[in-house]
Every structure is written in structure tokens, then in C-alpha cells.
């Protein structure tokens, strides 16, 4: 499969701040790549480079083989972009907003209008078509903005934090809309701070921090990187913690950690539910009452925290300081 998006060693500085510090990324055509990272990690800057809004200082980025600098006009014809803030015109109606975008893609009046009607229907906005956007909720604005990105049926779509700031209901509606797009086979680059979002929508995830891609893979691959399953138990009595620890030694696969304050024990395991049942049986036989127990696989949150922490340990204080300032500027 050919790559729809390729980013090679892209560097972008704003004054003394290095926003992108050699980003490498490739996204195969027809797949969804989730760019995951904290605020100021360089996600938005990466999207802005790929959508021709910013020129990289060095390195190369292409979309369908078109260079973001040299071939910018041709590239713009093939992409759709929906930003962090819904860039819709408040004083126009939903229909007029989409018609405007269609006209600017030079679809002609008739086709621009037909496409606007079609998209309003697809995004459940047909009832709001003739209403001025000023009165729209955040979720409606985002959906309209996403619809605007789809007007010209782009081959590659960029969504920059499409659900940031939305309430849970609107977020789910937005996810559904995005899932449908994905099912129709478009290539999508999605940035997000929400691990759940990346987990749910993306085929592959690139974790970005301090202007670099620090890990890449499927959600499962990334989870495996930070280790396997664990059992988390809360005991009734704090004075039984050391007894419990000894008892659970038989099922542990690695070092058991104990938190006395919370009366909690975390046991890394390798055999999932089998280990869970055996552990509970052992504790029962030893007379240790348990008030809460859970078998957990690592979440992307764990992955994310583990990866970004590791990155911090590796980084010298000077660079960290820069990255910190980068965060202020980029967010």
C-alpha cells in the first residue's frame, strides 16, 4: 500500500522555540493515523505543515507525493481540513457556509448547492440549514466544520482535535460521524489528547511529545510496550497487606507494589483471569477479605504516561525548558 502522507525529519522553529524537532511519520492510504500527545507536543504544528499553513524550516513532507511547499496549490485541491476551533462563519447560515466552501473549490453554483444539501443531511443538520450559525451549539459547529472539510471529497482528511471542548453526547456524535467517513475508505490524520478517541478511531497511533514522534504502532502494540496485565486489589484491613503480598507471590509475574494508605496491592500477572481466580482463592484461604478487585490491561493512558515520562527522563533540562515554552505558544 502506498503512503498517502509522508513526513521526513521535519523541523519547525518559532524563534527560540522548537515546535517540531525532526518529525517522521508515514500514513498508508486508506488508513487512520492518530497523532496523540499533550498540549504543545507539536500535533497542531504537524497538521499545519501538512495542510500548507506553515512552511517547515527543514525536512520534507508530502501528501500523495505532492510537496507541502513546492506543490502547495495542487495539494490543497486534494485535502480537507477541520481545525481545532470550528472555522465556520457565524453570520452565515449552515447552508451558506458549505456553499461558500464549494464555490471556493470552484464547483460552480449548482454543484456547490447540491453538495451543501447532501452534507447537511449526512451530518444531521438539515433542520438547521437556514439558521445563522451564531446560534449553534459547539457540537453543531464542529459537525458543520467537518462537513466543510468534506465538500470537495478530499482524498486525505486532517482533523485537528475534532472533539476538544465538546460535551460527551456531542463527542459521541462526532465520533460516529468520523467512523462513517473512515468506513468509506478515506485517509485520515487525526490529532487528539484523548486516548479513548485515538483507541476508538485510529488504525495506528503515533505518540508525539516535545516535537517528536516517540512511539508508533497499533493501540495493542503500544499497550504491550508498557507491559502486560495486572490485578489491582483493595483490602479491608491495612494490617493484612504484608500477608496478602506473600500469599499473592504465587501468581505474580514481576514485582508486587503495595500502597498502605489506600490498602491497595497491584500484582503484575501473565495469565489473566486464571491468575485472578487463583489469587482470590489463595487470599480467601489465608483469611484476607478483599473489598475491591479488578483485572486490568494497560490503557492507552498508561502507555501515554509511561512514554512521556520516559521521554522526560531522557531529556536534558535545557531542552525541556524550550519545550515548555513551546507548549505555551502552540496551545
Amino acid at each position: 500500500m502506498s503512503d498517502a502522507i509522508q513526513v521526513e525529519n521535519v523541523v519547525k522553529r518559532f524563534g527560540a522555540v522548537t515546535a517540531l524537532d525532526g518529525v517522521n511519520l508515514s500514513v498508508p492510504a486508506g488508513t487512520v493515523m492518530g497523532l496523540l500527545g499533550p498540549n504543545g507536543a507539536g500535533k497542531t504544528t504537524t497538521v499545519r505543515v501538512l495542510t500548507t499553513l506553515l512552511e517547515p524550516d527543514s525536512g520534507r513532507a508530502t501528501v500523495h507525493g505532492l510537496d507541502v511547499v513546492r506543490d502547495a496549490p495542487a495539494l490543497r485541491r486534494r485535502i480537507g481540513v477541520s481545525g481545532q476551533y470550528a472555522a465556520v462563519d457565524e453570520y452565515l447560515t449552515a447552508f451558506e457556509n458549505l456553499e461558500l466552501v464549494g464555490r471556493l473549490y470552484r464547483l460552480g453554483r449548482r454543484r456547490a448547492r447540491a453538495r451543501a444539501t447532501e452534507l447537511l443531511e449526512q451530518f444531521g443538520l438539515e433542520d438547521a440549514a437556514t439558521r445563522v450559525v451564531k446560534g449553534f451549539s459547539g457540537g453543531m459547529r464542529r459537525r458543520l466544520d467537518l462537513a466543510g472539510a468534506l465538500v470537495a471529497r478530499p482524498e486525505v482528511l486532517f482533523l485537528d482535535e475534532p472533539t476538544t471542548g465538546l460535551d460527551p453526547r456531542s463527542r459521541i456524535a462526532m465520533w460516529e460521524a468520523i467512523s462513517e467517513l473512515v468506513a468509506s475508505g478515506s485517509t485520515l490524520l487525526l490529532t487528539t489528547q484523548y486516548l479513548e478517541e485515538a483507541d476508538r478511531l485510529a488504525d495506528r497511533i503515533a505518540v508525539v511529545d516535545h516535537g517528536r514522534v516517540i512511539a508508533e504502532g497499533t493501540a495493542d502494540e503500544l499497550k504491550d510496550q508498557v507491559g502486560g496485565e495486572r490485578i489491582e486489589l483493595t483490602l479491608e484491613r491495612a494490617d493484612q497487606l504484608s500477608l496478602a503480598r506473600t500469599t499473592l507471590g504465587g501468581v505474580a509475574h514481576g514485582e508486587i507494589s503495595v500502597s498502605a494508605e489506600q490498602r491497595r496491592i497491584v500484582v503484575p500477572v501473565s495469565t489473566g483471569s486464571h491468575a485472578l481466580m487463583r489469587g482470590l482463592r489463595d487470599l480467601d484461604e489465608a483469611g484476607v477479605p478483599v473489598i475491591d478487585v479488578v483485572l486490568r490491561r494497560p490503557t492507552l493512558d498508561d502507555v501515554f504516561l509511561a512514554l512521556t515520562e520516559r521521554q522526560q527522563d531522557d531529556t536534558d533540562p535545557g531542552v525541556l525548558e524550550h519545550a515548555g515554552r513551546g507548549a505555551e505558544i502552540a496551545t
Binding site: 499553513l53 481545532q84 465556520v88 461558500l100 471556493l104 470552484r106
Partner: protein
């Protein structure tokens, strides 16, 4: 499609978008028109009762060309404010990811602001007629006067575009341009004859593009006092040529400059 027709076509689409906003938020237009009406009344009745033109003549007639010029220049602030707003809301970003001509957004902005100014000039003319202002020349000359006013305002819009794209905050654009516009439009022959000003101010006033335009409009409307002789400096002796010259120079400098700035403009 050639670059020019593409720019004009895209520009027309964006002009339409901006004009819809004038329609949807009429308050903006109404407030924009209140201040020129207020100026006409203020100067006609407050200052007009005290100002005596050297050599006599009707101050209200003399005044109108000055108010016209000041108001159209002041109205161009919306070009800068509009662009700064669009930038803040990420709309410029969206436009910049579309395959449109590089100058389309600016052509659309300045054109819709020209439409706005046309409405402003019409309102002011009515207000002027009410307080006794009259055009004392031919229809042709009067139309030429209005055309010159609007052309000058259009050129100044491109200066404001550069300001708006550079400053990026609508409030700051408003305040910054207010200071500049007031200096330019008061240190001129707009409200008093320039001959009476002290040395350096007089030189500035007589070479000020606002003065050339005001002088030209005053001549074209026939609003100079009887026996009036223009000051002996080239721009005021040849105000129409000077005005056209200024318009061309401003456009030649600020159109390329603002297009260049637009291409680099990002909201964050």
C-alpha cells in the same frame, strides 16, 4: 482559468460572504453611519458658528468635503478589523487551505468594504443636504468627486489590510488605526484651510494625501469659497492628479505587501 479571473471569481465569492454579514448585522452599518452624521451636525452647528473662512464663504459647504474624506478613511478600519477577526476565528486558516487565489480573501474584503463605504457616503450626502450643503457643479463633476473619494478609500483599505494582518487583534486594530486616521485627517485641509497652520504642520498638511483628495472633492463639488486660490504647492494646485497619484502609489505598495503577509498569516 487565468490568475486574474481566478482572483476576481474567488474574490467575488468572498465579497458576497462579507456583504451578507453587513445585511445580517445591520447594527454595525448603522453605528458606522451615526458617526458621520454626528460629525456633519457637530461641525456644521458647533464649530460652524465660530469658524470664519478667510475671504468669507459658507463654512458648511467648505466642511462637507473634509468630512467626506475623513469618514471614508475612518471606515476603512473595518478592513483591518474584519481580517483580524477572521484570523482570530480561524477562518483565514480555512481559506488558506483551500485552492483559491492568493489575493482572493483580500480582494473580497476590500471590495465589500467599498460597498460599505458607498452606503456611508450616500448617508452622509443626505445629512449634508439637510444642513444646507449643495453641489454647485455638474452631475459629471459630482460623480467624479464621489468616485475619487471611494477610490481613495479603497486604496487606504489595503493599508488597513496590512495593519489587520500584522496586528491580529481586532481591538488593537481599532485603536491603532484610530490614532493614525485622526492625525492624518485632522492635520490637513479637511476642517480648516491649511494656510493658517504653523510651519511644519502646514507642510505636512499640504502634502498629506487626505488634503489632495479633500481639495479635489471640494473643487469637483464647487464648495470652495468665492475667490478662493489654492495654496501654491503642487498637490493642491493639481489635486485630482495628485489624488490619483496617491491612489496608484498606495495600491502599488500595499497590495503586494498585504498579499505577501496573508500567505504567512496564521491564527497561532
Amino acid at each position: 482559468m487565468t490568475t486574474l479571473t481566478a482572483a476576481l471569481g474567488d474574490g467575488a465569492v468572498i465579497t458576497r460572504r462579507n456583504v451578507i454579514k453587513i445585511k445580517r448585522v445591520p447594527d454595525l452599518l448603522i453605528i458606522g453611519m451615526l458617526s458621520p452624521i454626528m460629525f456633519v451636525l457637530l461641525f456644521a452647528y458647533v464649530f460652524g458658528s465660530a469658524v470664519v473662512l478667510p475671504g468669507g464663504g459658507d463654512y458648511r459647504e467648505f466642511l462637507m468635503a473634509g468630512i467626506f474624506t475623513q469618514t471614508v478613511v475612518l471606515s476603512t478600519t473595518i478592513t483591518g478589523v474584519g481580517l483580524a477577526e477572521d484570523m482570530q476565528k480561524g477562518i483565514i486558516d480555512r481559506f488558506r487551505t483551500l485552492p483559491i487565489s492568493r489575493s482572493a480573501v483580500l480582494v473580497g474584503r476590500t471590495t465589500s468594504d467599498l460597498v460599505n463605504n458607498l452606503l456611508v457616503v450616500a448617508t452622509m450626502s443626505l445629512a449634508g443636504l439637510v444642513v444646507g450643503w449643495r453641489v454647485n457643479t455638474s452631475v459629471g463633476e459630482a460623480l467624479l468627486g464621489f468616485a475619487l473619494l471611494l477610490a481613495f478609500a479603497y486604496a487606504v483599505s489595503w493599508i488597513m489590510a496590512v495593519v489587520g494582518l500584522a496586528v491580529r487583534s481586532p481591538e488593537v486594530v481599532n485603536n491603532a488605526s484610530f490614532v493614525v486616521v485622526f492625525a492624518l485627517t485632522f492635520v490637513a485641509n479637511t476642517f480648516v484651510p491649511s494656510e493658517g497652520l504653523p510651519g511644519p504642520l502646514r507642510v505636512f498638511a499640504q502634502w498629506n494625501p487626505v488634503s489632495a483628495v479633500t481639495e479635489a472633492v471640494r473643487q469637483l463639488f464647487g464648495n470652495n469659497p468665492p475667490g478662493y486660490v489654492a495654496p501654491d504647492v503642487w498637490p493642491l494646485q493639481n489635486p485630482i492628479a495628485a489624488s490619483l497619484g496617491w491612489i496608484v502609489v498606495i495600491l502599488l505598495v500595499f497590495v503586494p505587501l498585504s498579499v505577501q503577509q496573508y500567505q504567512k498569516a496564521t491564527s497561532r
